[in-house]
Every structure is written in structure tokens, then in C-alpha cells.
Symmetry: C2
Subunit: 242 residues, 2 copies
DNA sequence: TATGATACCGTATCTAATACGCTTACCGTC
DNA sequence: GACGGTAAGCGTATTAGATACGGTATCATA
């Protein structure tokens, strides 16, 4: 950031309100989250969630959209507010309240890593191997994960995390990774196809060392129609509590 | 508020962050929300949600607890963050971000009306008859209601809204009022008793012009134990979308 | 051609959700 | 003190969905 940028930014930020983003992705059959290692003095060299102060001319949501755009060059990403964290001592040096958002991105489509400014490093972390993060960012991440599970239970958010074309096994892996549960593939496929929001394509996997699976795509229109008519979409075993 | 209070408050508040509370209650078989008519200059004579700026020494949640305490004289009320509202123009005169909370109270137990300061009036409003509120408070209320429904779907929050002793019909009325749905009382009673978190008391209704119903109480301990073992509690018809 | 792996199909069984008939108890009124 | 209105409370038949799991199909590679 050069001097002029710096001055402009400082003239406009609201110094006690920030936005932090929990960015989820799905890679190698595992749910991941994007962490950055800061290069600026504040939180220097600590792994943390991407975040910034908000500007006077933008809402928190607009700030989150901006941060995601700056990181990935992509707009219209799935975005949802997680919660606001306001403990008096969450930042030692001053009083800062942060509004946390979660985003779902297709890792294949948005190669986030190269675009990151203000960070000396950035990495997709497996959710089972999250390091100690700056400030209360571990707590924020956990809250976001819980929220994601709740959402996923009744909405087919696979849309946002999977590539355009995917196999039923990919989708099952996503559910299994998120909920840490083993599902019977025969029953899973029955349940999910019954919903009717998937379209089977005339394509198959290639270069797999076993029978190749059909590829599917999400039919968002059909899903929206189903929602209106009142269908819920619980793919988890009865009595499963998240 | 006298001059000294005013100075103290102004010395300590964070002037761009407030807390607003959506306080739900249950009365005459209907879900209600507490609204106040402000007596101070700001929002004078407009119905609105109870709310205040937060102080430098407290978190948003502590501020919400304080507001509820000032209004009712009661602590340990069910409290949950709804969302944070940060649109640039949500308050015309200055930039204020508000963190909204919802609270569930037992109206019989906490007579809120008499205790309210800073309000020329306060009233429990039927959710079907909410007037136009100050600022974006209608939006906040609606967001809170949606959140309440989602919560209720998998937790027996009736605890918080009903008196100690209640009939199964009371509980059914609560569900019917919240979800605007008619339930078959025979099936409702079967489902809810099967869960096992209710204790039948050796008491009955009196002075009703029909067969008097048994009274029940919630067994919180049993509920907590059930949650641990993974039981979910969906009393609504399959496919019902909120 | 055999083998290992996973996709994919089908069914039998068990459990839960739903619809609904019927009896019981309390109150007021004639 | 019988009667009617009303809601509590009990039981059951039917339907729908969840689960468990046996079996076949198809791919890559040895």
C-alpha cells in the first residue's frame, strides 16, 4: 500500500468497527478455510482470518464484499453474516468490534492465493488442522462453522462450494467432511436424487481407476421452486445433532 | 435522566455502536413483542425496539443484559444475538451500527411495563399488529422472528416463554402462534410426550368450562441429557418450511 | 483375463408421521 | 340432575420415509 492509499484509507475508515471473513472452500474431498499471515505491523506474522476496518461510506456487508473482491477478483460470492464479536478485551490495545461474515467459494474457479495484498502468506487450511489464530479468530471460525452446518442442513449449499460439474460422490464427500459422519452411498444417492434439484449430465469422470461416475449439475431454478412449495432437505440421519 | 446521569453516560458511551432488543413474550395464547414509545428527543413519540448505546466498559451482550435488567429488574433471561445492522443510512443524522439481540421472557413473571425509564409508553404487541417502527426496527424485528423460528425448531424454548406450570394446549398454542399453523392436538401430544423432557404434575387447570387439562413442567436436566445423546425435536409437519 | 475399486440398482424391514374415531371430564343451563 | 358444549385424552389403521444391505456393472491396471 503506497502513501496516498494509506492516507485515503485512514481518512475514511471507522476505527472501532472491522469486518472479518471466514472463507470456506472444498478441495481434495475436504472442507477448507482460507487463512492469511499478515504482513502489516498489527498481527505481524500471525495466521488470522482476512479482515479490515470498514469505511464510512459502506455497510459491513459491502465491506465484506469488498474484502472478498480484493482477495479473489470475484463478486457475487455466497455471503452470510455470522455474528458480531464485541468483548472489551478482544483486542488488547484498543476497543474494536468486529462483524464476522462467512463466504463459500469454489476453489477451482477462484484462485485466491495470488491476489492477496497485505499478506505475506495465504493458505487453505484443513478444518482439522487449524493453527492458533490471532485475537479471537479461532472462536470466530468455530462460530462460523456451526452456522455453516445449520445452513447446510436445510439448503443445498453444495452449489457454492463444488465446481459446475460434480459426481454424487463429490457431494457426499462434502457432507461427510462437514458433518464428520459416514453415510451409506446407496441411501445418500436415493435421498438426494429424490429432491430433484440435480441434473444428470451426459458426461462421466475420466482417468479414475474404477467405474467412472456420472457428472451432475445443480438446477438452481428447480431448487428455488421447491423451496417455495415447502420442501426441506435433510440428508443427515434422523436424530443427528450438529 | 438528570444532568449528572447525562454527563456520565455521555462520557462513557461509544457513540457509533448501539444495541437493540427484540423481547418476545407469550400472552393470551399469542406471541407478543415488547415495544416502547421513546420520551427522549431522538425518535420522540415513535414506537421502537428498546435499545441504547453501549458503554466502553461492556460488550454488546453485556449491554443487552443491562438494558433488559433496567427494564424488568430481572437477570438470566434467554438472550441470543440476531444480527448486526450497519446500512450507511439506517440513521439519517449520523452513522450508527446496531447489534440486535432477542430475548425470551415469561410475561407473568416479569411485569416489564412499570419499570421502564426513558419511555413514555410500553406495550406488548401482537406480532400480527406491529405498527410502523422507528428507523429500521421493523426489519430488525422480522429478522429476529425468523431466527426465533429456526431456534424453536430444534430446541424446546417453550421453557423461556411459558410459566412454570402449563398445559400441553398452552405449548401447542405457542407453536401454532409462532409458526402460524394448525396442529392436530392428538399427534402433537404424542410427539411432545415421547421426547421425555416434560414432567406431568399432580395438578390440573381450574375454572375452565370443559375437562381440565393436566399441568406439566419442563425438565431442563433431561433435555440437556437428550441433546448430548443426539435427539432432535421437530414438532412441525414434514416439509414445513419457515 | 483376473482383480480391486467404486458406481449404481433394487428390495425387505423397521420406524415414524398422519389421519381420525372414540371416550372422558368439566362447566353451565334448563 | 339430565343435557349440551367443549376440549382433554386414548387408541389404531394406514401411509410414507429411513435404514440396512445383497447384488451387478464398469472402469483401470496388473
Amino acid at each position: 500500500m503506497n502513501t496516498i492509499d494509506w492516507k485515503m484509507a485512514n481518512a475514511q475508515i471507522i476505527p472501532n468497527i472491522s469486518v472479518d471473513c471466514v472463507i470456506f472452500g472444498f478441495q481434495e474431498a475436504k472442507l477448507k478455510v482460507l487463512l492469511i499471515k499478515r504482513s502489516n505491523a498489527f498481527m505481524k506474522s500471525q495466521w488470522s482470518l482476512p479482515g479490515q476496518f470498514i469505511f464510512t461510506y459502506e455497510s459491513a456487508e459491502e465491506a465484506a464484499i469488498r474484502i472478498l473482491y480484493e482477495m479473489s477478483g470475484v463478486k457475487d460470492i455466497y455471503l452470510d453474516q455470522i455474528s458480531t464479536f464485541s468483548d472489551v478485551n478482544r483486542v488488547k490495545t484498543k476497543r474494536i468490534v468486529t462483524i464476522a461474515y462467512m463466504a463459500l467459494v469454489n476453489i477451482e474457479k477462484h484462485r485466491l492465493k495470488p491476489f492477496i495484498k497485505e499478506a505475506e502468506d495465504a493458505e487453505w487450511y484443513d478444518l482439522n488442522r487449524i493453527p492458533g489464530l490471532a485475537l479471537d479468530h479461532n472462536e470466530i471460525l468455530n462460530t462460523g462453522l456451526t452456522k455453516l452446518k445449520r445452513r447446510f442442513r436445510f439448503e443445498p449449499l453444495g452449489f457454492e462450494l463444488l465446481p459446475e460439474k460434480f459426481s454424487l460422490r463429490d457431494l457426499q464427500n462434502l457432507y461427510e467432511s462437514l458433518f464428520k459422519i459416514q453415510l451409506d452411498n446407496r441411501n445418500f444417492r436415493k435421498k438426494i436424487l429424490k429432491i430433484g434439484h440435480l441434473t444428470q449430465l451426459n458426461e462421466k469422470q475420466t482417468n479414475v481407476s474404477h467405474r467412472s461416475a456420472s457428472l451432475y449439475s445443480f438446477n438452481k431454478e428447480k431448487y428455488n421452486q421447491l423451496r417455495k412449495n415447502g420442501v426441506n432437505i435433510d440428508l443427515l440421519p434422523q436424530g443427528y445433532i450438529y
